[in-house]
């Protein structure tokens, strides 16, 4: 609270630039310890916009104009808000407060540690046990007679950025592990990431060897030999260096580098050419700039997109994953993956390969497990990369953005192979940045343990799991032949699209409003209801024909509450805050989502678009999730009469209202 210079400013003009809003609304700006909240003056809508401080990536203060002083808030999920404050002093106060609040200096200032949720201790502990990595190794069939758990890194003695529980070849003794780790950058020795039961080939990961120009290490060479030996089906392994060869060579001058094929028997070295975090950072920025162009020409857009290089980088990562997946599944050869430190590109390559190899990781739970395993446990530096704390801007880079985008691009190519939808991927993206939950806090397992995060915060996964109905892809079909086994994506350039859902809020709020996926979700939902009705009828018939039956059994509450709740990409704010904030109590998602969405100016610009609308309703439409849904629902009504039963379910009254306003 000490950083709050002013809690409230009135008569503020507010413009949600990223959602394509063209006319600013007037209202009051509140600053809380955790959120910036804008409440519209318009008594009818009283629309609120909540922006979590930790989601703000920058606060700009352009020169003052006669009407007042401006602030531009850029968020980590690519939203942009423009604020006009009449008094310059207020503006300065807000600016100073926000700059400070959006850049916490200590973990203890973070949202997830600053609130005391009302959930009991047991529940919190359970939330951390929701994802069990050991169970996933078991699912892969590890430990077995080839791979065993090692205690070498317990208490993080060998490598402080690795998890304490690791799997290594059965023959690898602690001495070899320690020896190998001394020869690896930051002690990140080769350890198992994924074991492929069909071919017995494995994906392992490590960091670069400290070879310099001529250095070698007997234990490390033995370690790689053991990796090879633990796959009985092959007499060599691939060592995938995900860096461009030039970068790897440059590292030799610093005493690091890559494996010398003369020293290691039976390895095949492969460079993939994924660029480093600095290149990725600037590439993403260029692409965001393209997305923000007001009315770009086709030339501006396509050239801009190409020159950003972003899609090329995504392709490189997918290619890396594909190389590994093919080696493991088709050739039956184990792969050792590394980059420099083995926590960025290595995590990307390994997790993409796992997604391609194993259908389990294409489920909702599976993706959680995969991220927990390859990213959280193996020490991807979340807090540095996603700027949870004020720190070195050179450490910031959209590494997991790229992994998530690879998953999205794959889901575009294989629409029936993923249990989750785009919303789920975006929700994970938001949580990675928002630090509302403890899951992604810190830079490695040891740091999280030292912070006692398990006692002080919650895991995000059970929360996402609770809302899984909302995140389900209706097209998913596990039995489909293409959904099983290895995915073989096409990685020619025209298969990569700009991810509008993430980068282009401007157009996310505008059509295409008819999403087949939403429509099919509704269809699936209905099918479920019908199935229940069917059972119900059967039981009634059974009852009528004289058999005893208990009626209570039929009135089973349905698992469908979350589906009709407001869609929000942000994490739930703590329940404690809903009481203190003055406003129609809204207990869901307000990192930044806004309630009855952005009213468009009635004069329709032609570049804006209108939804499907009946001739009779000529009021300007509201591009909003709700109206989409209501549209679809009314569409459903055309198709069948049973949809009437959808209406009176525990629906958020605000939602109805929103739909009403927008209709």
């Amino acid at each position: 609270m000490e950083h709050l210079r002013t809690p409230k400013v009135e008569n503020v003009r507010f413009l949600d630039r990223s959602s394509g809003q063209r006319k600013a609304t007037i209202g009051t700006l509140y600053l809380s310890a955790t959120h910036t909240i804008f409440v519209e003056n318009n008594p009818e809508s009283r629309k609120e916009t909540w922006v979590l401080h930790s989601m703000v990536s920058s606060v700009e203060r352009p020169p003052t104009i006669p009407a007042g002083s401006q602030l531009i808030l850029r968020c980590k999920d690519f939203r942009v808000f423009q604020i006009l404050i009449p008094q310059e002093r207020d503006c300065l106060d807000v600016h100073t407060s926000l700059v400070r609040l959006s850049r916490p200096e200590k973990y203890s200032e973070l949202y997830c540690l600053s609130f005391n949720p009302n959930v009991n201790k047991l529940e919190r502990e359970e939330s951390w046990n929701f994802i069990d990595i050991m169970a996933d190794y078991k699912r892969m069939g590890v430990p077995n007679n080839l791979w065993v758990a090692t205690a070498a890194n317990s208490e993080y003695r060998v490598c402080d950025t690795y998890p304490s529980e690791l799997f290594v070849p059965k023959t690898a003794t602690p001495a070899i592990i320690v020896g190998s780790s001394r020869f690896r950058s930051r002690g990140r020795f080769p350890a198992l990431s994924y074991f492929h039961q069909d071919t017995l080939a494995a994906v392992c990961r490590c960091s670069q060897p400290l070879s310099g120009f001529s250095g070698r290490c007997q234990e490390d060479e033995m370690m790689l030999q053991m990796l090879m030996k633990s796959n009985p089906g092959s007499d060599y392994i691939y060592v995938v260096d995900t860096r461009p060869k030039l970068n790897a060579m440059a590292n030799r001058a610093a005493g690091k580098g890559y494996e010398n094929e003369d020293h290691y028997t039976n390895i095949k070295l492969q460079f993939i050419g994924i660029e480093n975090i600095h290149v990725m950072r600037s590439s993403q920025q260029k692409m965001i700039d393209v997305g923000e162009m007001r009315s770009p020409s086709m030339t501006d857009f396509l050239y801009g997109l190409e020159n950003s290089g972003w899609l090329k980088h995504i392709k490189a990562i997918l290619d890396a994953g594909l190389f590994i997946a093919r080696a493991v599944a088709d050739e039956g050869v184990s792969v050792l993956v590394h980059c420099s430190d083995g926590w960025d590109r290595t995590a990307q390559a390994c997790s993409v390969a796992s997604i391609l190899l194993d259908p389990y990781y294409r489920t909702i739970k599976g993706l959680m497990v995969l991220i927990e395993k390859d990213w959280v446990c193996f020490g991807h530096k979340f807090s540095h990369r996603y700027a949870h704390l004020d720190g070195d801007p050179k450490e910031v880079s959209p590494v997991i953005d790229q992994f998530l985008e690879c998953v999205w691009q794959l889901s575009e190519q294989f629409p029936c192979a993923f249990e989750f939808n785009e919303r789920f991927i975006i929700a994970i993206h938001t949580h990675v940045y928002s630090s509302q939950y403890g899951t992604f806090l810190g830079n490695c397992q040891k740091e999280r343990r030292d912070m006692r995060l398990r006692e002080r915060s919650h895991s995000v996964w059970p929360q996402l799991w609770k809302d899984r109905a909302e995140y389900t892809n209706p097209l998913y079909k596990a039995e489909l032949s293409q959904s099983q086994g290895v995915l073989r994506p096409n990685t020619t350039p025209y298969c990569f699209k700009m991810w509008k859902g993430l980068y282009n809020h401007t157009e996310k709020s505008t059509p295409p409003r008819q999403s087949p996926a939403d429509f099919l979700s509704a269809v699936r939902e209905e099918s479920q209801q019908l199935e229940e009705e069917l059972t119900n009828h059967q039981e009634r018939i059974a009852a009528l024909t004289g058999k005893p039956i208990t009626w209570e059994k039929i009135e089973v509450p349905r698992r469908r509450t979350s589906h009709l709740r407001q869609t929000h990409s942000g994490p739930d704010p703590p329940t404690t805050y809903t009481d203190t904030i003055t406003s129609p109590a809204q207990d869901n998602g307000h990192t930044l989502s806004s309630k009855p969405a952005n009213q468009k100016t009635p004069t329709q610009d032609l570049s804006l678009t209108l939804p499907l609308r009946p001739h009779t309703q000529l009021k300007s439409p509201n591009p909003d999730d709700h109206s989409t849904r209501s549209n679809l629902e009314s569409g459903m009504a055309d198709l069948s009469s049973c949809s009437s039963s959808r209406r009176d379910n525990g629906k958020d009254p605000n939602l109805d209202e929103a739909v009403f306003i927008t209709a």
Partner: protein, 647 residues
């Protein structure tokens, strides 16, 4: 599955011996055969595919169910299944087809009066190339006989592909090469032969020529009414030989005056009604450019006529004239006697230029696009290469123009007049797209057929000249992909409103395939008058007969009848995409990875099935409770009325 860890992008590494190179084709052929079992190939005239002959031509599909066994038996033959009245003209063994995706294939070529059929039996399953000769734009002999004595031929096709064949030099020099035979039948018009559509003898349950009837279509729109009448002034195509015989014009303009208006409009194409808004009575009318010329000629009749069009709509005191051309081009037309309406002469009219380029620019744009996408898309610079074709830019301008028209009519309740130079290319694109946005009827399969028959065929889009059916003169400056652009725009609309169209992508691809195939009479000739003169409806089968005989193939499972809705698409370029499913469909690597439509259908079918069963049981419950209540009055079951399981 192939044994390799190589990735295509690692091109430089590919040659190294340790990475057995795969171009993913060995794998794709396997997966493709998987797929063919589950989903249809994207096109009826599938090429470069290993599809079994059952998939090869539409006619076979029609009778596939009955003929399935026969097809299986015949699949080992080297000849195609012939259509009624299709005859084999020549056959040649040991011809090499250079497939850009698989490599050289040796097989047998059969040329009939309808198609080229290549089959390579060396592969399992056999490789088949089945090409209607109508898609061939030009045949070139490439180089002279090589040292090995091979003669090579290149076929440039209208549907975004090029094919290359080679065979041994004929020993008997008198004997004609099979490709010389092919040239004869590929260009029947230039060789004094009949287009195959005139011989094709398939009978379909429905007569596709009856799909469109001008009078009933106008009646559907509510014409005649108090402001608009149907005129027969063009009954013998005397006023305008490129217009249909039935026209809708303002009530208070007598036929005699129409003739005077015709004198002032290029090719006599006077403003006539295309569509009328059911509520506001705002109209979409189309015509050609006024003959203003350098001296700024005026026509009282024309001015009065446009005033009458405006007056027919009581809601608005304004009229918008959309000139599809860039203003520079429109002005340049004055040199040739044409031009545009001056706002001085036409009071209350506002003239808007839509900046759509002419047929030559479009032809060049598509040619460039073909270079970029066929046979392979280059890995680097894909986006800038795509940009350099300007194809999407043109698509955007057409859609933006149509959107402005639709918006004026729907939101502004203002009548619009649309023209370009002659009013048969860009005008047809604009009016038909605007009508598609405005009127849900045209978004049904039959409605779309009516739309094409009306705005394109009856209003004289010059299909014969634009496509060059059976004509070997491939450099003809009249050829242009105007209609393809329109279908592309429709596809863009279906992408943005996936539930608003009754038809699917396959329907659009099928229309484009038969635009060239010359199997049906639909797209023959340049105008209604010509088609009547040639007795096309009597002598040929309509494409709609074929399509309507198997509607299920073409139906979008997601369709919801939003008949009262107006579609306003986003024409922002971020929402326009290259139609990969058409332009890059020959590349086996772009084939859809998964049969999504299959899943759509499954989900919808499942719900329908459940609904049916619930209804049945509901009935049973009602019946039983009615009967049991009489027996066991007061039993608890009676009080439970229609099921409400939801909380």
């Amino acid at each position: 599955m192939e044994k390799s860890g190589s990735i295509d992008s690692l091109g430089s590494k590919r040659s190294s011996s340790r990475h057995p190179s795969v171009d993913s084709l060995s794998s794709s052929s396997t997966s493709r055969s998987d797929r063919s079992a589950q989903a249809k190939p994207p096109s009826g005239m599938s090429c470069d595919s290993v599809a079994t002959s059952a998939d090869l031509s539409p006619e076979l599909r029609v009778k596939r169910k009955t003929a399935a066994k026969q097809v299986l038996r015949n699949s080992n033959k080297e000849e195609p299944q012939l259509l009624p009245n299709e005859t084999v003209q020549d056959m040649a063994q040991d011809v090499t087809y250079f497939c850009p995706f698989i490599g050289a294939l040796r097989g047998t070529v059969t040329v009939t009066n309808y198609r080229l059929f290549f089959k390579c039996m060396d592969r399992e399953p056999a490789f088949v190339l089945d090409l209607p000769l109508g898609v061939v734009s030009r045949v070139e002999k490439i180089g002279s006989a090589s040292s090995r004595g091979d003669v090579s031929y290149g076929l440039v096709c209208k549907d975004i592909r090029n094919l290359r064949f080679a065979h041994k030099q004929m020993e008997d020099t008198l004997r004609k090469s099979i490709f010389e035979v092919l040239v004869k039948f590929a260009f029947p018009v230039s060789n004094g032969l009949q287009i195959f559509a005139l011989e094709y003898g398939q009978v379909f349950p429905e007569n596709g020529w009856k799909v469109y009837d001008a009078v009933s279509e106008y009646k559907r729109q509510g014409i005649p009414n108090e402001s608009w009448r149907i005129t027969k002034v063009n009954d013998h195509y005397e006023v305008c030989d490129t217009y249909p015989s039935t026209l809708a014009v303002p009530v208070n303009i007598p036929d005699e005056e129409l003739k005077r208006v015709a004198a002032f409009r290029a090719k006599g194409r006077i403003p006539v009604l295309s569509w009328i808004h059911p509520e506001s009575q705002a109209t979409v009318t189309r015509c050609s450019q006024p003959m203003v010329g350098v001296n700024g000629k005026r026509s009282k009749e024309d001015e009065k006529y446009l005033q009458a069009i405006m007056d027919a709509n009581a809601q608005s005191h304004k009229l918008f004239i959309f000139d599809a051309r860039p203003s520079v081009n429109a002005a340049a037309n004055k040199m040739k006697g044409g031009g545009f309406e001056s706002e001085d002469a036409y009071q209350n009219a506002e003239l808007v230029f839509l900046d759509i380029h002419n047929i030559h620019v479009m032809r060049e744009s598509l040619r460039k696009l073909k270079d970029v996408v066929y046979p392979n898309v280059e890995d680097s610079h894909w986006l800038s290469n795509l940009e350099s074709t300007h194809w999407l830019e043109h698509i955007k301008l057409i859609m933006a123009g149509a959107l402005r028209i639709a918006d004026k009519v729907e939101s502004g309740k203002t009548s619009v007049v649309v023209h370009c130079s002659d009013g048969w290319d860009r005008t047809a694109q604009l009016t038909s797209l605007a009508m598609l946005m405005l009127d849900g009827y045209y978004r049904t399969i039959r409605g779309f057929e009516v739309l094409l028959e009306k705005e394109w065929l009856s209003f004289g889009h010059r299909f014969q000249l634009r496509i060059g059916h059976g004509d070997k003169n491939h450099t003809d400056a009249d050829r242009s992909p105007v209609f393809i652009q329109f279908i592309d725009c429709v596809w863009q609309l279906t992408r943005q409103f996936p539930a608003a169209f009754e038809f699917n992508e396959y329907f659009l691809v099928t229309i484009l395939d038969h635009l060239y195939s010359c199997l049906f009479g639909t797209f023959l000739c340049n105008s209604e008058q010509q088609r009547l003169k040639e007795e096309v409806p009597k002598r040929t089968v309509s494409l709609w007969a074929y399509i309507n005989s198997q509607l299920e193939e073409f139906t979008n499972p997601l369709y919801v009848n939003y008949s009262n809705h107006v579609l306003f698409p986003v024409v922002s370029l971020r929402h326009l995409e290259l139609w990969v499913g058409y332009y890059i469909r020959w590349n086996p690597r772009m084939r859809p990875q998964e049969p999504v439509h299959q899943r759509y259908k499954e989900l919808l079918a499942k719900r329908a099935e459940l609904q049916k069963r619930v209804d049945e049981l509901q009935r049973e419950v009602t019946n039983r409770s009615a009967s049991s209540s009489s027996e066991r009055a007061g039993s608890p079951t009676r009080s439970i009325t229609p099921v409400q399981t939801f909380v």
